[in-house]
């Protein structure tokens, strides 16, 4: 992706004279083909990504980032430690007896006290809080997050299984979001204050005010029940099953992201270099595709990472509506059945995912921004 701010082009434009573009280092003639924006951009994106990748392999990592990376990793570890402590303390505070629940489930079965005590001792739940916590921590550090009695499997195993549907759903929702938001956001920024802009902003405003579970239910009712286009009962991860949950999440996210795209593009459009380019007679199309959009991409990548990360936690309600067997569904189920080992595992797992994604976004940001790239060495 070309994200070079420094490449200011100077164009002398006469009706029939060739277009002369002068870059800082060198000058060359741009053919009409190169100016034709949409077709050229895609190949250019690929070319630039390849260039960025090559940059990594050839020159290695900028020196400053190593320090930052280590610091971030330590930070992640600390946050996980804090979260595990909080959830552990909450479990202790919670009403009800997990041991009784383990034996009797949600039913009113009479369990003898000896039986309860025996199981409690076996699970180490009779020890003081801090001992229990460090015991758990020690096991967790060795990769053992405990055993879930509801799914009858080690917690870590279930986490891996449930992660796949959530990632799949998040990815589908993100693809939908990008497909809708980018064109809408860019176009409404270009046509600022037009009818189209007004229309988009009203729609997106409604989109951010709709509770996503309600939208899910309405979609389910319309497309599943009335029109019978899509299956109502989920369970499997087929393409037809993912459409509605992905739409539900995607519409809300797209509403937010469209506004962000619009704002980012507008900000670039108001920069001096755009005025300069216009003054030199460059076409609006050229300015938009070759100058404005590449620059607007940087903040948008960060926001994209953030919204993808928030999907991991935020999709719980939608997963419940559509019986989508992901992490959010698992979280709600395990809370209802008071399977606290599993709850704790899920919270930590999602936190870890979220922070790793954010870290990845920051890294790609450093790699893509020429200014930061330069600062690196």
């Amino acid at each position: 992706m070309r994200l070079c701010t420094g490449r200011v082009a100077i164009v002398h434009m006469n009706a029939d004279a060739p277009i002369f573009v002068q870059k800082r280092e060198s000058a060359h003639f741009l053919s009409q083909d190169e100016l034709a924006p949409p077709a050229a951009t895609f190949t250019q994106i690929i070319a630039e990504s390849v260039a960025a990748a090559r940059f990594f392999f050839e020159r290695g990592w900028p020196k400053v980032s190593w320090k930052r990376l280590v610091r971030r990793l330590i930070q992640i570890a600390l946050v996980l430690l804090g979260i595990s402590f909080i959830t552990f303390a909450l479990v202790m505070l919670s009403p009800g007896d997990p041991v009784r629940q383990m034996i009797a489930g949600n039913e009113d079965i009479i369990v003898s006290q000896q039986e309860l005590d025996a199981l409690r001792a076996e699970l180490g739940l009779d020890k003081p809080f801090i001992f229990q916590y460090f015991g758990w921590l020690g096991r967790a550090l060795r990769g053992n997050l405990g055993f879930s009695y509801t799914v009858k499997a080690p917690v870590i195993e279930q986490l891996m299984i449930s992660l796949v549907p959530t990632l799949y759903l998040s990815l589908a929702a993100t693809v939908f979001m990008l497909a809708v938001s980018l064109p809408l956001g860019v176009y409404s920024a270009v046509k600022q204050n037009s009818l189209f802009d007004w229309f988009t902003s009203s729609i997106t405003f409604m989109g951010i005010s709709i509770p996503n579970f309600w939208m899910g239910l309405m979609l389910l009712w319309t497309f599943g029940l009335k029109l019978k286009w899509l299956p109502i009962v989920g369970g499997s991860m087929s393409f037809r099953n993912i459409i509605m949950p992905a739409l539900t999440l995607g519409i809300v996210m797209a509403s937010k992201y469209t506004r962000q795209v619009r704002a980012a593009v507008l900000e670039e459009l108001h920069q001096d270099y755009v005025t300069g380019a216009r003054a030199r007679g460059m076409t609006e199309r050229y300015i938009l595709w070759k100058e404005v959009l590449p620059n607007a991409m940087l903040p948008l990548i960060t926001l994209l990472g953030l919204s993808f990360g928030s999907l991991l936690g935020g999709s719980a309600v939608v997963e419940i509506v559509f019986s989508w067997p992901g992490l959010g569904y698992l979280a709600v189920e395990s809370i209802i059945y008071r399977d606290f080992q599993l709850v704790q595992g899920i919270v930590l797992w999602i936190a870890l995912m979220y922070m790793v994604i954010n870290l990845a976004v920051d890294i790609s940001y450093t790699a893509l921004d020429p200014r930061l790239r330069k600062a690196g060495h």
Binding site: S209, W214, L217, M218, S310, G313, I335, F340, V343, N358
Partner: protein
């Protein structure tokens, strides 16, 4: 305050939105007078009636009138969301002010905690907290307070740090003003407008999250006529009685739209940066 009054007089959007908010509050206050039925009384004979002249929004599985329940629901939703936002506002702002003004150990503890809370998705923690503590409206509010106060603390802290450097605060310190006095009469008045704006624009989002927790069964418990909970109950009959989930959702949607718009208008009216 003066800005607020000016806004009410001159800003058309703010006038309209304030009127709508007032209307919502009035509906909540006068729900007993406006509703034709008792929202909690079951009449099994009337169960699952479609919307009609007698029951505008239909009836639910126990024959309770949906329209009455939604009007009463405004009481639950508005009260709980206003209490929630106020609590978050007070907790977050005071922690932020303490961190910013006194610095040192308090600052480190508060801000590191807030760093931790901000670095992962709040909703999943809210679900876990509300669920583990046991489903109830109060627990859901506690959960949302735990995950949201950081935003206010950060904002308040950064503003206090800025204001602390200004001359009038220095002067007050030199004159021997006590910290409490300086905080109340010099710092708070300067940070409050922006904090209030933030709180006002958060009402809509908080309402959706509260409703979401209730929808999952971790908020209000039956038979409360809370909108999120009504959606949860209506979901089970959504094939036979779609009105049970259409209207509560619509109520949430409309209320959130009104509060979001009102928050935007309030920002225009109060934000000092917009004037210049």
């Amino acid at each position: 305050m003066e800005n607020l009054w000016n806004g009410l007089k001159h800003n058309r959007a703010f006038q309209v939105m304030s009127l709508l908010v007032l209307l919502l509050v009035l509906v909540a206050v006068f729900a007993p007078e406006l509703t034709p039925y008792n929202p909690l009384r079951a009449r099994m004979r009337d169960a699952f009636q479609a919307p009609s002249a007698a029951h505008w929004f239909g009836t639910d599985k126990l024959g309770r009138d949906c329209f009455s329940r939604i009007l009463y629901g405004a009481r639950y939703s508005l009260t709980s969301v206003l209490v929630l936002v106020t609590v978050i506002f007070i907790v977050g702002t005071s922690l932020g002010v303490v961190a910013g003004y006194f610095g040192g150990f308090a600052d480190t503890v508060i801000m590191r905690t807030s760093d931790m809370m901000i670095s992962f998705p709040g909703m999943i923690l809210a679900i876990a907290v509300a669920g583990i503590l046991g489903g109830s409206l109060v627990n859901a509010m506690i959960a949302l307070t735990i995950v949201t106060w950081t935003k206010y603390a950060r904002l308040a802290r950064s503003m206090v740090l800025k204001i602390k450097k200004r001359d009038f605060v220095e002067a007050a310190i030199v004159c021997g003003g006590r910290p409490l006095h300086i905080l109340i009469s010099h710092i708070l008045p300067n940070i409050l407008p922006l904090m209030v704006i933030t709180a006002a624009s958060d009402i809509g989002a908080m309402m959706m999250e509260l409703a979401g927790l209730s929808f999952l069964g971790f908020g209000s418990q039956p038979p409360a006529p809370e909108w999120g909970l009504m959606l949860n109950e209506g979901r089970q009959q959504f094939q036979s009685a779609p009105w049970l989930m259409a209207f509560p959702g619509l109520a949430i949607f409309i209320t959130v739209v009104i509060f979001n718009r009102w928050g935007d208008a309030l920002r225009d009216v109060l934000d000092p940066r917009q004037e210049s």
